[in-house]
Symmetry: none
Subunit: 262 residues, 2 copies
C-alpha cells in the first residue's frame, strides 16, 4: 500500500471492548490497519465489534501474531507509546513529534507503525527495544492512568492533524463576508437617529464619544449584510414597535370615538 | 481560582459511564472542574465513579445545572465542540487553535470553558449561540462518530500541550476584559424581552432561530462590562422612547375622549 497511514499494533491486549474502542478511534482519524499480538481472550471476539460503533473494517482486517517481531517485520519506523519514562536509550517524543517523523517516513514510501501495550502491563523494555523511539503522552503526574483507546486516539489525532495541515481547508472561518462600510454605517446612523429621538445622548457634548463607543463595539462584531438587515429591524422594532402597537392604539382610538358617537 | 484550566461543561449527558470516562481524561490532563447540565439519569450516579478508574475528584466536585446559561455564567470565553459544521456565524477552530486562545485568556486571569453535547443529540444551535467559537475535531469524513470522552480527551490533551508551551502573549487585544457570560446573557434577555413586547418575533415559531442569530452577532463583539451597560441603556432608551410615543398617543386619545364629551 502506497503512503499508507501508520499500522496500529496492540501487544497483548486484554479486553475485547478496548480493541473495539481502538478500532473506532482509528476510523475517526483515517487509520485502518490493526495488528494484535497474543490477544488474551483469543480472536475474533464479538464484543470488539459491539464496541466499535460501526467501525468494523479495522476489526475485519485485523491480523493476529504470536510474536511482536513478526508483527513489525514489514515496517521501517515504529514508535512505542508508554506512560512511563524508560531507561532505554531511545529518543523520547511527544505524539506530535512522533507523527511528524511518521509523516516524513510515509512520504518516502515507508511502512510505519505505532505500538501500544496491554491495559495492565503496558510494554516491556524488550518490546520497546524493537522500536525506534518512545512516545510519551504528557499526562499529569497525579493521574497517569490513560485508557488504551485514548492513547491510540491522541496519536491518531496527531497523525490526522498532520494530514489536515496540508491544504489547511479546515481552518477557514465559518463567517460570511462582513458587510461593506456603507451598509454598516447605515445601521449606525439609523441607531443614532433613534437614540437622538429617545433622548439617549446627554449631556449633548458627550454625544460624539458616546457614538464612537457604540460604533466600536458593534464594529467588532463584523456584521454580515444579513445581520445588518436584522439589526436594522431590531432598532425599528424597539423604537417603533414595528408599527403594530401604534396601529392597534389607533384602532382603539377610532373605536373609542365610535363608541362615544354611538 | 487563579489561572484555572478550562471548566468542562457536558450538556445533557446520557450515560454515567461516559461522565466517568470524561472525569478520567480530565484528570489525565490536569483539568478538574466538571459541570453537568440536565444529566439524563440524574446525579450523582454510582456508575460514573466506577468508570473513572480512580479519577474521583472531578466527579466529587461536579455541579449540576438546569440551564446552560447558568452553567457558563461566570466564564468569559467558551468554545463548543461539535463534529458537524454549523451555519452559525462563529469562528471554527481546531482543538489546538482553541486551546491557544483559552491559554491566552487564562493568562489574563479569565475563567474559560469547553462545552460538549450529549452522546446522541450533540449540541443545538441555540447552545452554540452562547459560545465564542466552534471547535471541530478533524475526523475522517467516512467515520465521524467520536466518543464523548475522546472529544474531551483531545481538547484536554491540547490544553496540556499548551501548558508546556507557555508563555505566549500573542493574542493580546487592545480591548478591555470581556464581560462574563451572566452579564452578557442579561443583556440578551433584556433585548429579547423588549423585542417580544414590540412584536418583533414573528412568526412565533421562528423566535428561537431569530434569538440565536441576534446572540451570535452580538456575542462576536465580546462586549466589556462598560459596553454591556451602555447597550442595556440603548435598549432601554429605544424601547422607552417607544413607550413615550405610546403615552403621547394615549394622552391624545384621552384628549379626544374629553373633546367628544365636552
Amino acid at each position: 500500500m502506497q503512503n499508507a497511514p501508520p499500522v496500529v499494533i496492540l501487544n497483548e491486549p486484554q479486553l475485547a471492548e478496548n480493541i473495539g474502542a481502538v478500532a473506532r478511534v482509528m476510523a475517526n482519524f483515517g487509520l485502518a490497519e490493526l495488528r494484535l499480538v497474543r490477544p488474551r481472550d483469543g480472536w475474533p471476539q464479538e464484543r470488539a465489534w459491539a464496541s466499535a460503533s460501526g467501525a468494523d473494517w479495522p476489526l475485519d482486517g485485523a491480523k493476529v501474531y504470536q510474536r511482536l517481531e513478526a508483527a513489525v517485520a514489514d515496517l521501517r519506523l515504529v514508535y512505542a507509546t508508554t506512560a512511563r519514562p524508560r531507561e532505554t536509550q531511545l529518543p523520547v517524543l511527544t505524539p506530535r513529534e512522533a507523527t511528524a517523523e511518521l509523516h516524513a517516513a510515509v512520504a518516502r514510501g515507508h511502512r510505519v507503525g505505532l505500538l501500544f501495550g496491554g491495559e495492565r502491563a503496558g510494554l516491556e523494555t524488550g518490546d520497546i527495544a524493537l522500536c525506534h523511539g518512545i512516545v510519551t503522552i504528557p499526562v499529569d503526574e497525579r493521574f497517569r492512568s490513560l485508557n488504551l483507546a485514548q492513547a491510540v486516539a491522541l496519536n491518531a489525532y496527531e497523525w490526522r492533524m498532520g494530514v489536515a495541515d496540508r491544504p489547511r481547508e479546515a481552518f477557514a472561518l465559518n463567517i460570511d463576508e462582513p458587510a461593506d462600510m456603507e451598509t454598516v454605517v447605515g445601521l449606525y446612523e439609523q441607531l443614532e437617529s433613534e437614540l437622538d429621538d429617545a433622548g439617549f445622548f446627554h449631556p449633548p457634548e458627550k454625544r460624539p464619544s458616546m457614538v464612537r463607543n457604540l460604533r466600536v463595539a458593534l464594529g467588532r462584531a463584523r456584521l454580515t449584510d444579513q445581520e445588518v438587515r436584522t439589526w436594522r429591524g431590531v432598532v425599528t422594532a424597539l423604537s417603533k414597535g414595528r408599527g403594530r402597537v401604534l396601529e392597534k392604539l389607533a384602532r382603539q382610538k377610532a373605536a373609542a370615538k365610535n363608541e362615544t358617537k354611538g
